[in-house]
């Protein structure tokens, strides 16, 4: 009898990851076409968290906008209002006092640490699961983040959406007690952050799961508009704080940590080192905040009175996720004619389609987590 081999192609197994899935960092849908455990093709779907912030900003006064925009990238709220306020100040040609600038940077850097801690913690969940070592790392990160949120509460009365930034300056002053608390926090946090860095960089399984996974080459990062830890993990020396210094960043000493290969491991390590650098900046600020006004504008009776002149401006800052830009078109009234947000998570996330094919299904979670997208920021 003839020996016949029956070959049948059953096609790929299409599996949904998201929008409701335990590990998609938000509401993001990936349709994975699997051949066994390998991913053949990927389709991604966005927009499950679209809240129309850009359209909403065409209905609100300039002074009403910062609190709304803080809900955009909800893991580092201050960065959003910081970028927006700077963009408006650029149109109106308002000069912020050095004191206000110092306070803005202080809050922004503290929130950068808290955001990176969330990124590391949720990355632990992606790698080790909610019922294992990952959960331990997650809870350690959140325990430390809690201390930063306490400082935020002390500074502004709000733990999370601090509402510190105003057009023209800041809303709240920093007392000496707060400064002492922040100094103590910085002293306590340093060894803990070092512990976290050791926990991941000396863990055999962590290295096995993240090294050589999701390699983003320099060219790919550049052409997709990647920024922040994603670009720096690939070795691109770009940080808005250094390259186009805003606020008072030029007065501080800090380094830009760079990765070598651009894999998931490098991105995590870059985030961990950025935490230490942020603490350095915080230390330099707490050494002495210069005297000055909190807000360089005169108090206005109504938010309708803030009327920037006709024109447009673009201002970008370094949020924990990368270059966060605000483009504002003003027609001379108290509400923006158009506002466009250049969201770092969106550009970074656009790489995911190119990284996933050919990897294992378990890697897809690791790669997505290493990009650290925040879906409030992606979908806006």
């Amino acid at each position: 009898m003839e020996n016949r081999v029956i070959e049948r192609d059953f096609g790929d197994l299409a599996v949904n990851m998201g929008p409701q899935h335990p590990s998609t960092h938000g509401v993001f849908r990936l349709k994975l076409y699997l051949q066994g455990e390998r991913i053949n093709k990927v389709e991604s779907f966005l927009g499950y968290l679209h809240r129309g912030v850009e359209k909403l900003s065409e209905k609100l006064d300039y002074d009403q906008l910062p609190p709304v925009l803080e809900r955009d990238d909800y893991l580092s709220p201050t960065s959003n209002s910081l970028g927006f306020c700077n963009a408006v100040e650029k149109i109106c040609d308002i000069k912020v006092s050095r004191k206000a600038s110092y306070i803005r940077v202080l809050v922004a850097e503290l929130q950068r640490i808290s955001s990176h801690l969330v990124a590391l913690g949720t990355y632990g969940l992606d790698l080790g699961g909610a019922l294992g070592g990952g959960a331990s790392l997650f809870l350690y990160c959140f325990r430390e983040r809690e201390k930063i949120l306490d400082i935020m509460e002390d500074l502004t009365g709000t733990r999370f959406h601090t509402n510190m930034n105003q057009i023209g300056g800041v809303r709240y002053d920093v007392t000496t007690e707060s400064i002492n608390k922040i100094k103590k926090l910085s002293k306590d946090l340093r060894p803990v952050l070092q512990d976290f860095a050791n926990m991941v960089s000396k863990d055999e399984i962590f290295m096995k799961r993240t090294k050589d996974i999701g390699i983003i080459s320099k060219a790919l990062a550049e052409e997709s508009g990647g920024s922040g830890p994603i670009a720096r993990g690939s070795g691109i020396n770009f940080d808005v704080r250094k390259n186009k210094p805003y606020e008072c960043y030029s007065e501080f000493n800090f380094d830009i940590p760079l990765g070598v290969k651009g894999d998931a491991y490098d991105r995590t390590i870059v985030r961990m080192e950025e935490n230490i650098q942020s603490l350095n900046i915080v230390d330099q600020i707490t050494d002495g905040i210069p005297p000055g006004d909190l807000n360089s504008r005169k108090p206005l009776k109504s938010s309708k009175l803030t009327k920037p002149p006709k024109g447009s401006s673009y201002f970008s800052i370094e949020s924990p996720r990368g270059e966060l830009g605000f483009f504002i078109v003003s027609d001379g009234t108290s509400i923006p004619y158009r506002m466009k947000i250049r969201a770092p998570s969106f550009s970074n996330l656009s790489i995911v389609d190119k990284l996933l094919p050919g990897t294992f299904i378990a890697d897809s979670v690791v790669i997505l987590g290493s990009l650290d997208p925040v879906f409030g920021d992606v979908d806006r």
Partner: protein, 324 residues
């Protein structure tokens, strides 16, 4: 007639109720240890002190839940899976001398029989995953089958090494052999076989870093994705019964069973098994999960050659040294 039935059924009833009690409190222990490791408190408010009624509340909650069966699932097999797993993992305890002085089923090859029975669990898991008509469950059971088949080899060989030294596969003789020295204290061979046993027990018991079938970061919750209520409770219970069985096995083979430094009692088996379980807990709550290809590679390239070397050494030792 009635008397003989009671004489037959009473030990079974006693063992099962004892086991369920132990396992319910293993879950509580696990939650408490995990909480301590993660600087939390853990279950606290259900029953004072320290939420000791929590296992009861969990069981009650799962029992009164609605029993949902997916529309396109194979209803018969969907029910059969959890029952099979539970029955098999309880059945393996018939061979273990952990509650009575003599096991209920006293055979010469009790170790082999224990392994044979407990490896039937994979049938229940496969049936459960396949019949629930869910893609995540399907991927999970395919992984699970590959994993269990691979890791059974080093597990069996690691148990064979002590058996070759002892010259018997019966638990009774294994225990009486270790009256003076436990197997774990035999130089080189005891430690090699224990390490291999430990690793493959983690894989068999489906614990992190080898809990690939439940990998909730990619597969929601693996083969139990579609299960809820009492059927899920059966899975959960069976997992812990199986794991406790492995712990008891480890305490008998490597730690001398009821033989202790001061006194000899069957309660020592339970204490040693609990310590062994705590060791597994520490591993579980401090490691990340490994990937499926790395898992299989580790098994075939590292673990199996190592276990064969151990087996060879055991044979040589047996040939040149008289242990009895």
């Amino acid at each position: 007639m009635m008397d003989s039935f009671i004489a037959f059924a009473l030990p079974i009833f006693k063992t099962i109720s004892m086991l369920i009690l132990i396992v319910a409190y293993l879950v509580w222990l696990e939650r408490k240890v995990a909480a301590k490791m993660q600087s939390r408190i853990g279950p606290y408010s259900v029953g004072s002190p320290h939420g000791w009624l929590q296992p009861l509340a969990d069981a009650l909650k799962l029992m009164i839940k609605d029993d949902a069966v997916p529309k396109n699932a194979d209803k018969l097999l969907f029910t059969f899976g959890p029952i099979w797993i539970m029955v098999v993992s309880l059945a393996s305890f018939a061979l273990l001398p952990f509650y009575f002085d003599n096991p209920m089923l006293n055979v010469d090859l009790s170790l082999m029989m224990f392994i044979a029975i407990s490896s039937l669990i994979i049938i229940g898991i496969f049936v459960a995953g396949w019949s629930s008509n869910n893609k995540y469950a399907l991927i999970s059971v395919l992984r699970m089958t590959a994993q269990i088949i691979s890791y059974e080899i080093p597990l069996i060989i690691s148990l064979l090494i002590p058996c070759i030294l002892i010259g018997s596969l019966s638990f009774g003789e294994i225990i009486s052999f270790q009256e003076d020295t436990w197997i774990i204290f035999y130089p080189i061979l005891g430690q090699i076989s224990f390490i291999i046993f430990m690793i493959s027990a983690l894989a068999e018991g489906n614990r992190i870093p080898f809990d690939l079938s439940e990998a909730e970061s990619e597969l929601i919750s693996g083969y139990t994705t579609e299960y809820s209520g009492i059927k899920f409770a059966l899975f959960y219970l069976a997992e812990y019964v199986h794991l406790f069985g492995i712990c008891v096995l480890g305490s008998i083979i490597f730690f001398g069973g009821p033989n202790g430094p001061i006194f000899t009692s069957n309660i020592l088996i339970v204490i040693k098994a609990l310590l062994f379980f705590t060791l597994i807990l520490f591993i579980r709550w401090s490691f990340f999960r490994i990937r499926i290809d790395q898992l299989l590679k580790f098994n075939w390239i590292r673990l199996i050659p190592l276990s064969f070397i151990g087996l060879l050494l055991a044979c040589l030792a047996r040939y040149y040294v008289d242990f009895n």
